[in-house]
Amino acid sequence: MERKRIKITQGKCSGCRLCLQICAIAHYHETNPKKAALRIEAHFPQPGIFKPKVCVQCGKCMEVCPEGAISRRDDGAYIVDFEKCTNCGTCIPACKPGVIFQHRDLDHVIICDNCFRCTDLCNTGAITMFIQPAKESA
């Protein structure tokens, strides 16, 4: 099966973080970048670059979840069942890119669900959607 992923092109992000805003709006109907499922790391004053951090669909979160609250959808996304999630945070240190979050307003973790609203609005080409052919899909 084809799977959709977010591709990062290093050196293209300029740190506007519009992606974070649209992510939170799409999922929580609120302008609040802290509720987004991705981050932009700023490395200043040196070397002076931005690094987007996004879900790479490694599946570690699902592996470590003690509640069985995370499952994989056909398109590749790892989806949190908010009813099962106890917000224990076990998945957070397991996430290599560091894009699982908790927020004081929510009693479940925040994980990217492949909506691609972020890539749709990224105008610099720093994050784009790419479709991984079935044979390469993990």
């Binding site: 050196g11 300029s14 740190g15 506007c16 973080r17 519009l18 805003q21 649209i22 939170a24 709006i25 799409a26 999922h27 929580y28 109907h29 609120e30 302008t31 609040n32 970048p33 802290k34 509720k35 790391e41 700023a42 200043f44 004053p45 040196q46 070397p47 002076g48 670059i49 931005f50 989806i79 949190v80 069942d81 908010f82 009813e83 927020h103 004081r104 307003d105 929510l106 009693d107 479940h108 669900d113 909506c115 609005l121 990224c122 105008n123 610099t124």
Partner: protein
């Protein structure tokens, strides 16, 4: 409004109810630095609605609360920091934060803003406005982490350069804190000191950093995790997404993204308005060496954006000057390229970038800083100051070494550095001997990076700008080119219109570059505002409110400085005594009569009398009767105009760029 559940997921749990509404975060902080008392109060929504937030609210609070005889550096002056209603919402370039206080440069209302991420962070933490009063007994910084608001000891950071202090504070507090700092210039009372944030964004004009320094407020550090609730998020998202999609392919987007404003150096030079060697001429023979393409080729590291703006006009660069440490900075953008480049005779982009870094780190405005150093260089050229005044150094055009030493004298107020720490106007008063003629300022603030001698609307814009000679309120170079650079008649009504349009960006805390350069209509901006606020205003109301601010600030200036307005509105005599000596516009210039004609037209267009004083009729029309009463008591109320005031002040005009 409460947060809705996740779409397409298995159902999110409800978020907590927020106090945010209509784009406002909901809370205002009042901080007495003398006592350390911090008071929270609900944001005055009526005040925000009437004055549009940002610059408008700053203008009204300063007018209402700062005594007319208060020293800008004294405890009675306020220092205000406010994020606009659109800041941090889902809009492009909704990134600005506005600062305001009585300016130590002009002794009138002063305000300045900057992009980056601090404005949105303040609102995410739950605050629209912070109003500081008093003077702290020791250096402090304001710490905001959502509900935690504290004044903390800043003795560790006091004395540090702005660019050095920010990474240390992030290391101490956390990378996700947004930091704004002042440098030693502000700590030492240099009047044109700025506020720096995000490794190179500045609120540079009117000396807001200097006021922070006088209050012993070294920095502000903010982290916010809350959300902003807007009036109609679905409509806003749809409307803004359409603007985003449309502007992605606008022909202006690519050059702005690649060069930021730096490529305007070449443009200004080609059109012969580039200030060169302290505005002696308008064409710089070495402009190509300091233009945008040269910056990108020799110094570029990365593009750097403000919140929500992929136009990313910020260029993060390195500057390498032999014998000096390699430095990193954001810039030089156009104004710095002009005022620390051609205006100082700098022929190497690395030298311009180095001076940019130097001024950013000591915390002085590169615009006024460039103007002040240029004035010093012309004084040296003319023998009004010499090596004996400069600790054995020279101060020659194009010398980065000389400029660096002179800046150090100013920052530490050594010798004649003390004169120049007050800006060109005050320095000229000390140096005398005709130097006032080429102190390139109005009302005590240095001119921006455009020579107005063959761009009459630009000269009028400087003369009448409410905060001193700044281009931000009205920029007319393309208007002058379209309507005739030899002609002054008819220019005033366009200047007035632009003076009503452009300050609105500073009220709503959105960036003019994105919203003004991509053929976005004023009506679209107003719709965005309405989607956020629910104010339901139209363009006519927006313009009239902006005019109200303009007149309030004018009255405030008159009340503090107590003379007819016209007396403050003249540029230095170079504007009419010296014709442009070289370049494509050689021999061109303005006459004193033309200056007077423009002022006469401007005042008539505003409904002010020939002395430059607002009339009761126009103030009444703007619901500013209280200001009319105040200036009347001082004998500064305008004489009624024989034919009454114009029904509408200013004439709508769509410039090629503004």
């Amino acid at each position: 409004m409460t947060a809705k559940g996740a779409k397409g997921a298995t159902g999110a749990k409800m978020a907590k109810r927020s106090t945010s509404s209509g784009g406002l975060a909901g809370t205002t902080l009042r901080i007495d630095l003398t006592t350390g008392r911090i008071k929270r109060e609900p944001t005055d929504t009526k005040l925000m609605r009437e004055w549009f937030g940002g610059r408008g609210v700053v203008a009204k609070i300063l007018y209402d609360e700062v005594p007319r005889d208060a020293d800008p550096f004294g405890p009675e002056n306020l220092f205000i920091m406010t994020a606009g209603v659109m800041s941090g919402c889902f809009i492009p370039a909704g990134a600005k934060i506005e600062f305001g206080s009585i300016s130590p440069m002009t002794n009138g209302h002063g305000d300045s803003n900057m992009g980056g991420h601090l404005g949105p962070a303040l609102k995410f933490a739950g605050y629209d406005t912070v109003i500081f009063s008093g003077i702290s007994p020791k250096p402090v910084y304001l710490f905001i982490d959502d509900d935690t608001v504290e004044l903390r000891d800043a003795s560790k950071y006091w004395g540090m350069g702005s660019l050095d202090c920010e990474p240390l504070m992030k290391k101490d507090l956390g990378e996700d804190f947004e930091i704004a700092t002042i440098g030693p210039a502000a700590e030492n009372g240099v009047r044109f000191s700025c506020i720096t944030h995000d490794f190179g964004r500045q609120a540079g004009r009117t000396g807001q950093g200097a006021v922070m320094g006088s209050k012993k407020l070294k920095a502000v550090a903010v982290r916010g995790t809350g959300g902003i609730v807007v009036h109609d998020l679905d409509k806003l998202t749809e409307h803004v997404t359409a603007i985003i999609k449309r502007t992605q392919t606008h022909p202006n987007m690519a050059p702005w993204q690649k060069y930021g404003t730096s490529f305007f150096v070449g443009w200004s030079n080609k059109n012969a308005v580039l200030p060169t060697r302290n505005f002696q001429t308008t064409y710089f023979e070495d402009a190509e060496a300091i233009d945008g393409p040269e910056l990108v080729e020799k110094c570029f590291i990365s593009h750097k954006a403000c919140s929500g703006c992929w136009m990313n006009c910020g260029k993060y660069v390195k500057a390498e000057v032999p014998g000096k440490e390699k430095v990193f900075l954001e810039g030089p953008e156009y104004e710095t390229g002009a005022l620390c480049g051609s205006n100082l005779g700098m022929k190497d982009i690395n030298h311009v970038a180095y001076l940019n870094w130097l001024m950013d780190n000591v915390g002085m405005d590169t615009m006024s800083g460039g103007g002040v150093v240029a004035f010093g260089m012309e004084c040296f050229q003319r023998g009004l100051i010499g090596t004996g005044d400069l600790e054995g150094h020279t101060l020659k055009w194009g010398s980065v070494e000389d400029a660096e030493h002179f800046v150090d004298m100013i920052v530490h107020r050594r010798g004649i550095g003390e004169y120049f720490a007050g800006g060109t106007k005050r320095a000229a008063e000390k140096i005398g001997r005709g130097s006032e003629k080429f102190a390139m300022q109005v009302k005590g603030m240095e001119m921006s990076g455009y020579d107005g001698r063959y761009a009459p609307g630009m000269m009028l814009s400087y003369m009448t700008c409410d905060i001193g000679a700044h281009h931000n309120r009205s920029w007319t170079i393309t208007v002058d080119m379209a309507e005739g650079q030899d002609k002054v008649e008819g220019r005033a009504k366009v200047v007035v219109y632009l003076q009503h349009i452009r300050p609105l960006f500073d009220c709503w805390c959105i960036c003019r570059l994105f919203w003004g350069e991509l053929d976005i209509e004023p009506e679209e901006i107003v719709q965005t505002l309405n989607d956020i606020t629910g104010w339901n205003i139209d363009t006519a109301e927006a313009l009239k409110t902006s005019e109200k601010m303009w007149n309030l600030v004018r009255c405030h200036y008159l009340e503090r400085n107590r003379a007819d307005g016209r007396t403050f509105d003249y540029p230095p005599a170079r504007a009419w005594e010296d014709k442009i000596p070289s370049g494509p516009n050689a021999g061109k210039g303005l006459t004193k009569d033309q200056i007077e004609t423009m002022l006469n037209e401007y005042y008539a267009c505003r409904g002010w009398d020939a002395k430059g004083n607002p009339t009761r009729e126009v103030l009444h029309d703007l619901k500013l009767d209280f200001a009319a009463d105040a200036i009347e008591k001082l004998g500064l109320l305008g004489t009624p105009l024989p034919n009454g005031i114009p029904a509408v002040r200013g004439e709508r005009y769509k410039p090629k760029a503004f």
